[in-house]
């Protein structure tokens, strides 16, 4: 079923077993899983099926920390941020879930095995290839593909780049045709209501001034890593600090991924076919996998990552890197990359540069000739850091909701960790005869932020350390759940959408059990 909030009579209170707030990857996944069950579901979406400036402007706010993409990094219409998702996917590693003594505030309440049953289905929902992320699998599928490096210190980290499935477009029909799911567009939730310690429902406003409400046994907030804390903090009529915020945790531990230029690399031709490890990637078609939907082609992309052992020894969070093209060259440097390329040839008995066709780098759809070196682009897991946070400001949006301030900050040790990680990579690449690295202080590369807003309603068994429990239920509000990457207590370096979807599948299963009881 489909409704528009501004067409529902003012003052109406809708009834549902489950009210999902937010029509992005998490919200749509949960609604889809609950479709055609015995439980009435209402999915509230702020936007419509199209982008509108008026709705998007509700995201506006201030940034007092490292600049991020507060407005453009997410999309506020049906399908949410998947509407501009690039499709880069990878499950999180087992180590990402572990409590690591050298990564402050790390550790999920459960291990990777908890998500293993859900990842393959999430993979299908995201229109990716087979759920295979071992480099050895792809080497068998693509005979001339060779992993750049695989040692005790550095391992390949395989990504799949799917078509960037727009969840709104793909799953709209199944929700519209479902008899028990009611999608309400243009519905902006302004408050979460409680009855005692339980959630009672939500209040809804439209841009045209209409006001309705939803009463539900269960409410799921699935609005992303900034809007989830925003609504919790703004729902302060019954609890002055906001909901779930008894221990001042809501909005803290904001995390995002970013690519940091850590050095330049001159690689040898030791790996016959290292193309996997460039930005460009390798079409899966070469493994005989075709995209039947006719959407964008799927690619494999390789990073090289520190092994858990190497991360532990170097005392740094999870870290991966890839080779990116960069222009112009460094011919005027005291020691130019060409000098090092020559040295590599002398020492390693190799040419000192990769095959000529591989130095053709695709930038913004145009193939360009690279100079004789590449950027070492490092993607490090940010240490969960309490001072990186979302707070409310005194400025109100058109609906009377406080706008946010985003103070994105890195743990002070993180830059040193990136440098240390770069040195480990440099050493291992050279030890394997693959090249030489010029290290530099980390600086943001073209991708300054990943638009991966995580951590602001973190998951922890202990209410003093987390906003939600291992099921995603807010510790101090029964039946109020939170879905999406805001619950990630630690992020690893993988892009989050696949894990968001897997977690949503897990939550849907949980909700169905709760409702069946």
């Amino acid at each position: 079923m489909l409704d528009r909030a501004d067409e529902i009579p003012r003052g109406t209170t809708l009834q549902a077993a489950v009210c999902i707030v937010g029509g992005g990857a998490a919200g749509i996944t949960i609604a889809r899983e609950l479709a055609d069950t015995d439980h009435d579901v209402i999915l509230l979406e702020s936007g419509t099926f199209e982008f509108t400036e008026a709705t998007q402007n509700l995201y506006r706010g201030t940034m007092s920390g490292i600049p991020n993409n507060l407005v453009g990094g997410r999309l506020r219409f049906f399908g949410g941020t998947t509407n501009h998702w690039a499709g880069q996917s990878r499950p999180m590693d087992a180590v990402d879930f572990e409590k690591r003594s050298w990564v402050a505030n790390s550790g999920w309440p459960f291990g990777r095995s908890e998500l293993d049953p859900y990842y393959p289905k999430a993979q299908k929902m995201c229109d990716l290839g087979p759920f295979e992320y071992d480099a050895s699998f792809w080497e068998k599928q693509i005979p001339d593909l060779q992993t750049l490096i695989d040692t005790d210190t550095v391992r390949p980290a395989i990504y799949q780049i799917g078509p960037g499935t727009h969840f709104g477009e793909k799953y709209r029909t199944v929700l519209e045709e479902s008899e028990n799911v009611r999608v309400v567009l243009g519905a902006n939730v302004s408050n979460v209501r409680l009855q005692g310690r339980r959630v009672a429902g939500v209040d809804v406003k439209t841009l045209d001034g209409n006001e309705i409400a939803v009463d539900a046994e269960i409410v799921v907030l699935a609005m992303g890593g900034i809007e989830n804390p925003r609504l919790l903090l703004a729902s302060n009529t019954q609890r002055t600090a906001g909901l779930g915020n008894e221990h001042d945790l809501v909005g803290r531990y904001f995390m995002d991924h970013s690519l940091l230029a850590t050095g330049r690399v001159v690689i040898s031709d030791a790996a016959p076919n290292p193309e996997l490890f460039f930005f460009v990637g390798v079409p899966m078609e070469r493994a005989g996998i075709k995209d039947r939907s006719g959407a964008l082609p799927r690619y494999l992309l390789g990073h090289f990552a520190l092994t858990p052992r190497a991360s532990r020894e170097a005392q740094i969070p999870a870290l991966s890197a890839l080779l990116a093209g960069r222009f112009p060259g460094d011919e005027t440097a005291p020691i130019a990359s060409a000098d090092i390329a020559s040295l590599i040839g002398d020492v390693e008995g190799r040419t000192g540069v990769v095959r000529p066709e591989l130095v053709m780098i695709e930038i913004n759809g145009r193939r360009r000739v690279s100079t004789n070196y590449f950027e070492l682009a490092v993607n490090m897991e940010p240490t969960p850091y309490a001072e990186s946070r979302v707070t409310l400001t005194t400025e109100l949006d058109r609906l009377g909701m406080p706008r946010v301030d985003l103070a994105w900050r890195f743990d002070p040790d993180d830059y040193a960790s990136v440098t240390r990680g770069g040195a480990v990579l440099a050493r291992e690449l050279a030890a394997q005869g693959l090249g030489r690295v010029h290290l530099q202080p980390p600086e943001p590369l073209a991708v300054k932020y990943g638009n991966h807003h995580m951590g602001t309603t973190r998951m922890h068994q202990n209410p003093r350390k987390g906003v939600v429990d291992q099921h995603g239920e807010v510790h101090d509000v029964a039946n109020l759940y939170i879905a999406g990457s805001s619950v990630f207590p630690a992020s690893g370096f993988s892009n989050p959408t696949l894990t968001i979807t897997a977690l949503a599948l897990r939550m849907a299963e949980r909700l169905q059990k709760v409702l069946d009881q």
């Binding site: 440097a333 040295l343 040195a423 030890a431 010029h438 290290l439």
Partner: protein, 135 residues
């Protein structure tokens, strides 16, 4: 790999012996033979781009000025356990490439790395480049 005539190479090596009293690495001092030096043309044959090697070598000596001594570098660059004079007198260019490559990889694995203007190089390759500037 650069192509040089074996006879010419050996002749150049033998002809370039220079006496030294530098203590040897990896062999007892009492047994130490006098280290030898390879002629500048021969060492240059190791490097495809002598100017590039010279830039790297000069940069290394700028950060390690105490190593600006050819005898010292010949000694340090001889394989562990080898008598430098014998080694440098008999090593072929192909063998030198093999030995240097092995030593360089071992350096990286052992953390014997030098930072030269940001470049992370093995101590051995930096020293070899430095040596090329001293001959």
């Amino acid at each position: 790999m650069k192509e040089i005539g074996r006879r010419g190479f050996l002749g150049a090596v033998i002809g370039a012996f220079v006496a030294s009293t530098t203590r040897l690495r990896g062999v007892p001092a009492a047994e130490a033979a006098v280290p030898a030096q390879v002629s500048a043309p021969t060492l240059s044959a190791f490097f495809a781009d002598a100017a590039a090697a010279a830039r790297i070598g000069a940069a290394y000596l700028a950060v390690a000025p105490a190593e600006g001594d050819a005898d010292f570098l010949f000694t340090e660059l001889a394989p562990v356990g080898a008598v430098p004079a014998d080694y440098w007198a008999t090593v072929t260019i192909d063998q030198l490439h093999l030995d240097i490559r092995e030593a360089v990889h071992a350096d990286f694995e052992a953390g014997e790395i030098v930072d030269i203007g940001g470049w992370q190089l093995a101590k051995t390759e930096a020293r070899l480049a430095a040596l090329s500037t001293l001959l």
